[in-house]
């Protein structure tokens, strides 16, 4: 059965490679879109995704949105100095590079640099209060020409920060995160305005502590990390529209592949009749058709996986494309099942093929 399938593919190379190419392109497109969804997701939310956090305490009315949640610094004083709990301030700001007058958008995050929230510094040094207002920023800021030692000026508060280090995979709402210490954070607020933070982060699950926070600080709720990520402006819409594309692509794949296998089977009905006339059974004919589809799928989907991997390597840095092998394997499985399903649908015409056709009666 297997060798017969292979011989047919080898003989009708063109016909089978056309179908193979279509499968390859559909699979490659699925992988590219899923890679983009992945890349955009991390470009949008990596600072939260990579944050060493179990849950976030947010304002009840904030709809899980970090940027809408606010807690007065005074209220927070009750829970300060806990290794498992940390307040985080977050604000989108435009900073002006002092030398070039160029503006850069950042998400400024005020944290305790000695706490579990501080990401690993990959270049330069960490935040030190002795050196005045300093920033450790996501390295995507480098693409905008910012280097270690550059000075960034914030207009409203009239503060100039010095970039002392870079970290990686720390973005929020498609902007690089600029980490500052709490002192710098609190200086952002004009003197007549109350200092506030956006959220309280708990590192490890701790029910008692969480309940404690809930009862000390009123009008708040604990939100899971996943829900906070979905609350990042634009995140959900972005992911949903990409996912919709993927879903449609797979539906299209179902129709295209089914139609192709159907046409191919119809074309071969006479051949199936002849094979039946010399004693082949339905099971054998369906089996060898399915084997062909399996061979085609493995080769084309495999090639598409390779293609996506190469794409990942050669894609310019600016395009958020992240090749996640686990996700790609899942989509490969889906496409594989889709093509087997398409082939099975056409096996009805194999069963219907009449061995009498071999008699060559002109209809």
């Amino acid at each position: 059965m297997f060798s017969l399938s292979l011989k047919e593919i080898r003989f009708f190379k063109l016909r089978y490679s056309l179908i193979g190419f279509i499968m390859f392109f559909v699979a490659a497109l699925v992988f590219i879109i899923s890679g983009l969804a992945n890349g955009l997701s991390s470009d949008n939310a990596s600072s939260i995704q990579n944050m060493n956090a179990h849950a976030f305490y947010l304002d009840k009315d904030a709809d899980n949105r970090l940027d809408r949640s606010r807690f007065d610094e005074k209220v927070l004083s009750d829970i300060k100095d806990n290794k498992n709990l940390q307040a985080v301030g977050l604000q989108m700001l435009s900073l002006k590079e002092v030398d070039s007058d160029k503006k850069v958008d950042v998400s400024m995050m005020g944290i305790d640099p000695n706490s579990f929230l501080m990401p690993k510094v990959t270049e330069g040094s960490t935040i030190k209060s002795s050196k005045g207002p300093t920033i450790v920023a996501d390295d995507s800021l480098k693409k905008q020409g910012i280097e270690i030692g550059d000075k960034l000026y914030e207009e409203n508060s009239d503060i100039t920060y010095t970039v002392v280090g870079f970290t990686e995979k720390q973005t929020f709402s498609h902007t690089p995160v600029a980490f500052v210490n709490k002192e710098s954070w609190e200086n952002l607020f004009p003197s007549k305005q109350k200092v506030s933070y956006n959220t309280i982060v708990i590192k490890d699950a701790n029910k008692d502590l969480q309940e404690d926070v809930s009862s000390t600080i009123k009008d708040g709720v604990w939100a899971e990390k996943g829900d906070v990520i979905k609350g990042i402006p634009g995140y959900d819409a972005e992911q949903k529209s990409l996912f919709m594309m993927l879903a449609f692509l797979i539906v299209i794949a179902v129709f295209v592949l089914t139609a192709f296998f159907y046409i191919m089977t119809i074309q071969k009905v006479n051949q199936f009749g002849v094979l039946k006339a010399i004693g082949a059974k339905n099971g054998f004919l369906i089996g060898s058709t399915i084997i062909q589809v399996i061979i085609l799928s493995i080769v084309s989907i495999g090639a598409a996986i390779g293609f996506a991997a190469i794409l990942q390597a050669i894609m310019p840095k600016g395009i958020p494309f992240v090749f996640d092998f686990g996700v790609i394997l899942i989509y490969s499985g889906v496409l594989f099942i889709v093509s087997i399903f398409g082939a099975l649908l056409s096996s009805a015409s194999i069963v219907k093929a009449d061995p009498l056709q071999a008699m060559g009666r002109a209809e």
Binding site: K7, R10, F11, Q271, A277, I278, A280, N282, M359
Partner: protein
């Protein structure tokens, strides 16, 4: 008593022609015994192919018994009939009906594979069969490059591959010139004699009847024995 490979008893076949029912085969009786090549003649549309399809387990009769090696297969299901075709019957079609994407050797391998019997022994048989139909040198060629006569010879070898008791041929020479025709029929006759098969051949071609042991004519849905070969030969001899 040796079993009769193929026996048809009171076979009836009716086709629907618009409103009307047409009885193509009417209470037909027929036997084929080992070592004999039987020819069936008859006008076009008289039901020869229909008869052969029934004998070849490709078509079910509307009545009567169709006995292959002592077993009535008239009411077998599709799968059982496929098995009968695979093991007991070798069919040679008018258009040789080879598999386009297989090499000559693989055409024979395929039927052995279908029977699950591709091994050293059958491999050797395939080689011998190709030699006896004079195509050993073509074993590794695709069939598209073969001539009509060569294709028919491959079909003959294929029909013998699973060592069936019955060989059926429906106008195997219709698409060949007269020289090729007698070559092909001579080959069928040789294989039938050598391998002791029961063979039935439908033909239009009177010139090849000398190779046949019995000649039937299809008329009004029934077969009538025309003459025996010997008397044919005698009359031919006398007139020349």
């Amino acid at each position: 008593m040796t079993k009769i490979p193929l026996e048809l008893k009171n076979i009836r076949k009716v086709f629907q022609d618009g409103e009307q029912e047409v009885e193509i085969l009417h209470d037909l009786n027929f036997q084929a015994i080992k070592g004999e090549l039987i020819a069936i003649l008859g006008p076009s549309g008289s039901g020869k192919s229909t008869l052969l399809s029934i004998a070849g387990a490709l078509l079910s009769p509307d009545g009567g018994e169709m006995i292959v090696n002592g077993e009535n297969i008239a009411n077998y299901n599709d799968k059982q009939k496929a098995d009968v075709r695979l093991h007991s019957i070798g069919y040679i079609f008018q258009a040789s009906n080879l598999v386009p994407y297989l090499k000559v050797k693989d055409q024979l391998k395929l039927v052995a594979d279908l029977a699950g019997s591709w091994n050293k022994e059958t491999q050797q048989r395939a080689d011998e069969l190709l030699k006896s139909v004079g195509l050993a040198h073509r074993a590794n060629h695709y069939v598209q490059h073969l001539s009509g006569g060569e294709k028919q010879r491959v079909a003959i070898a294929r029909s013998l591959m699973n060592n069936p008791d019955i060989i059926l041929a429906d106008e195997p020479t219709a698409s060949l010139d007269s020289e090729r025709s007698s070559e092909i029929v001579a080959l069928i006759a040789k294989e039938v004699k050598e391998k002791n098969k029961a063979a039935v051949m439908v033909t239009h071609d009177e010139s090849i009847l000398s190779y046949c042991d019995k000649i039937y004519e299809m008329k009004n849905g029934q077969l009538t024995l025309r003459t025996t070969l010997k008397t044919t030969l005698k009359t031919t001899l006398r007139t020349t």
